[in-house]
Symmetry: D2
């Protein structure tokens, strides 16, 4: 499939330390239902919510190689979660968050601390739409429906359920 | 002066388009009064609040070369504001915000849209103290006194005036 | 397929302006014959030799999605060649060359000017083996069989034909 | 002094492990004699040749603060050599070499292994003149007077002594 047809979906949210059991389970379910021939995900490649969505995708019936891209902070690929098909070793530390945003057509955010907040800020600067899940505490919920500054408007779309996310993506 | 003694103060805030006349004037005054032999500033090197603080420093009676460092997004130094002594051409675009934070001992934030928000998020991740000016609208005021996530506590110190900023810095 | 089993092959060589007809044709043939279920390529995502190898892979009988990764210099994916499955928009300019090297298990180099030379130098620093094609003029041929400095030894393996490349990869 | 008048001189060469006693001594002498009100140096901020030139500058009679800029690979400034006035913590690892080149008006290279070679390759891509010292073994000597590829011509100027370097700089 050509990359112009393919939809590249950024997935941002907490690492292991900030990811509740509920959010992890939501991530697995989201990954399973996101999985479709025309979609791949781009995430930070580590644990927590990133791992959950990758895991869900790889557990889906129609999974395929190349679905899960991990943009890693380290200069080696060793620390990618086990469900990343394609690990990218940036060696840039937390500055790699900008590459996740730049490489995504649209983004899904859930929960989230400071790392996720930096990604939301980059997404706004690059005028990317972010589907902000509202059912978990964190910056995705905090900023859902809000404008960060005057350069954009309405880019942070509140979504409450996986059904709403899929409906939004199907209508693109 | 050795760099371990020197205090490197990050300065973050809006570029030209997001910087009011009041904030620009505050920036000039801040730069003038910050200027002292033991302090240099590290900023994004462009217009608006960054330019104002650089300008104030260079207008101060005790200004010296090397006081104003501009960490630029471009791969050339041409777009640095006229008051930057040392322009660094990162060629990294908005990801350069992480370098401003990494290179600062302590940070002053005022006003601010999405770019400043990404810097505040990076500062939190790197556990740097940020003096958040509360008298201007923007993310510095919005997050003053708040905790971004559970990894830190009290790093975003509210300050209302230049006197408070100088008092805090003198007590370090 | 799990990324630890998968072989990630870096492909470095000239962009459009430095790529002869002969080298481009060699690249297409190389891509066709490299294509196998256990291999993906990581390249700079632009024209010339990078495009040729991507094109060959996508023309092979056993091509699959996710085989061709393009690590782009720009902050947008628009300038990826048409045969890149997964474009990564680094926004880092020429510094992105380090990410290509970091993300590869082993590298194939052919022809090459200054950009390729920077990649060869990074590969040496990261102690990655590079198969250096000797039948085309450029830095791959120039450095084949040589040691860049004392930190490594024998990392730049001379190879003259596609048969030799495949034999080396099969023996890993 | 305004940064457009100031000459920013890149200094590239081996780290501690690749720097002979002779090259270190040459670096100190070079630093001492380079020191003048209109010049600052931009280097990688670590040991070996970088440290020697910084040390020489700070030992010169007319030294001033801000003369020595260290563009560090780490996300912290702790590992800068003791003679760096202004340490920049990029957190980008070896990719930071591109920032040294981008931020320099002209470059001096001596000795050099793989790291220096990557910097020479970046300098060529950015069309920066490099004064290549020919009296020490390494990539600076190896490439002195040569063209890396067809995009430029004569950018790598052979120089044998500090007198020749100063003469070249004075004539700019």
């Amino acid at each position: 499939m050509h990359h112009a047809v393919l939809k590249k979906i950024g997935v941002i949210g907490p690492n292991k330390s900030g990811c509740s059991k509920e959010l992890y389970d939501f991530g697995i379910e989201l990954g399973k239902r996101l999985s479709s021939p025309g979609r791949i995900i781009v995430c930070g490649g580590l644990g927590g919510f990133m791992e959950a969505v990758c895991k869900g995708m790889k557990q889906s019936a129609n999974t395929f190689f190349g679905q899960t891209i991990g943009i890693l902070p380290d200069a080696v690929t060793d620390y990618a979660n086990a469900y990343v098909d394609i690990p990218i070793a940036t060696g840039m530390g937390i500055a790699r968050n900008s590459i996740i945003i730049n490489s995504s057509d649209i983004i899904i955010a859930a929960g989230g601390g400071a790392g996720t907040l930096s990604e939301l800020a980059f997404a706004w600067q690059q005028k990317k739409t972010v589907l902000c899940v509202t059912q978990f505490e964190g910056w995705a919920n905090e900023l859902a429906g809000k404008n960060i500054d005057d350069r954009g408007n309405g880019l942070f779309v509140p979504v409450n359920t996986i059904d709403e996310i899929l409906k939004y993506l199907d209508n693109l």
